[in-house]
Symmetry: C2
Subunit: 214 residues, 2 copies
């Protein structure tokens, strides 16, 4: 079932544009095919890590989610931490590709900054990038070696942010602006509820933009 409709990410609610992006990245060997056993494990683990946290998620939980026994997981991954590491790697790669695409469509500095903000908000709140919040919440659950790996992949993502902020931001230091912004956006995970109040994701992005845009 290559590129099949059983794709876990698609079924989680991605737009058609994004699932095409996933397929392209899978073809390039940058992402694991979400339809493969390994890919289904990664998706299940990502959702569980978001829901319960890494420490409180057992390998038995993950196995049960895809319908196999706990021991069988170690046919696909060396350790539980290796699952977390791979989830973070793929999340980083996908979020970066998605944001690069969004930025490329904009014609003004302000538009590009707004695209970045909305992109990250969607990654946090929507199902656009399942597991994105883990990058912050479970960072310390990674071994130093794994942290190094993910950090290396993350650099390109952060560079894009800094470039956009240097062009459109009102603060002198783009790196500082990015850090303050990242905190605000990441924290919104803990209070923002897309439908339960007047504020929409788009409006939230606008409010944040008005703070940081010149």
């Amino acid at each position: 079932m290559p590129g099949g409709s059983g794709n876990a990410v698609t079924s989680a609610g991605l737009g058609q544009g994004s699932s095409a992006l996933v397929e392209a990245l899978v073809a390039q060997g940058e992402l694991t095919d979400p339809a493969s056993p390994r890919g289904r494990l990664l998706n299940a683990a990502a959702l569980l890590f978001v829901e319960k946290g890494f420490a409180r998620t057992t390998v038995r939980d993950i196995a049960a989610e895809v319908g196999i026994l706990s021991g069988s997981i170690f046919h696909h991954f060396r350790s539980k931490e290796a699952i977390l590491c791979q989830v973070m790697r793929e999340v980083t790669i996908f979020a970066r590709a998605r944001m690069e695409a969004a930025v490329a469509q904009e014609r003004t500095p302000r538009g590009r900054l707004r695209a970045c903000i909305l992109c990250e908000l969607e990654a946090i709140h929507g199902r656009a990038v399942p597991g994105f919040t883990i990058l912050v919440s479970e960072w310390r659950s990674l071994s130093p070696e794994s942290q190094r790996q993910v950090l290396q992949l993350r650099e390109r993502y952060e560079r894009l942010w800094r470039d956009v902020l240097a062009e459109a931001g009102r603060m002198d230091d783009p790196a500082l602006a990015r850090r303050l912004l990242q905190g605000s956006l990441a924290h919104s995970y803990h209070w923002f509820r897309p439908k339960k109040q007047g504020l929409s994701l788009d409006e939230l992005a606008g409010q944040v933009l008005s703070l940081y845009c010149r």
Copy 2:
């Protein structure tokens, strides 16, 4: 040794003004005496929770830190989670008292907002309020009932923030401003290093203030 110099908070690096504040709160029965066995356990637990996280800290770790055996902990607390809950309660109470004192000393709206920002930054980075970051990082480790308790104590702290922001902030919605601000400040724990770069806590507070102050 009542009010003694063996005070764990004092020895952790508090200024003299704050240790007097601690003593006053202890006298009112709002905080546990840091010199008591129970208080020493709370302090040790708070530092370990900050350092390693709640799930990765064992009751044996905490016991070893104060020089007793693991079982003896349960003479003082019903469960490991009860320790976390009490740490959060006392941290909340102390942080609120500290910020109220700081705000009361200011004469302008801008000064009060600046005081709040600096107060929370000191709680996060200095040793002013040991365990303050746990309130965010380990929130999900609390049972719903414990969350309710801490949330109730936290309300007064957040109300002060909103009042100050309503007076001095440049955003329409003080509650939204507080949430964006809280994210930025909390996240600074992961990147800001007080002495290893040019930016000081004071300067950071100034940068943040310039974003949110009218």
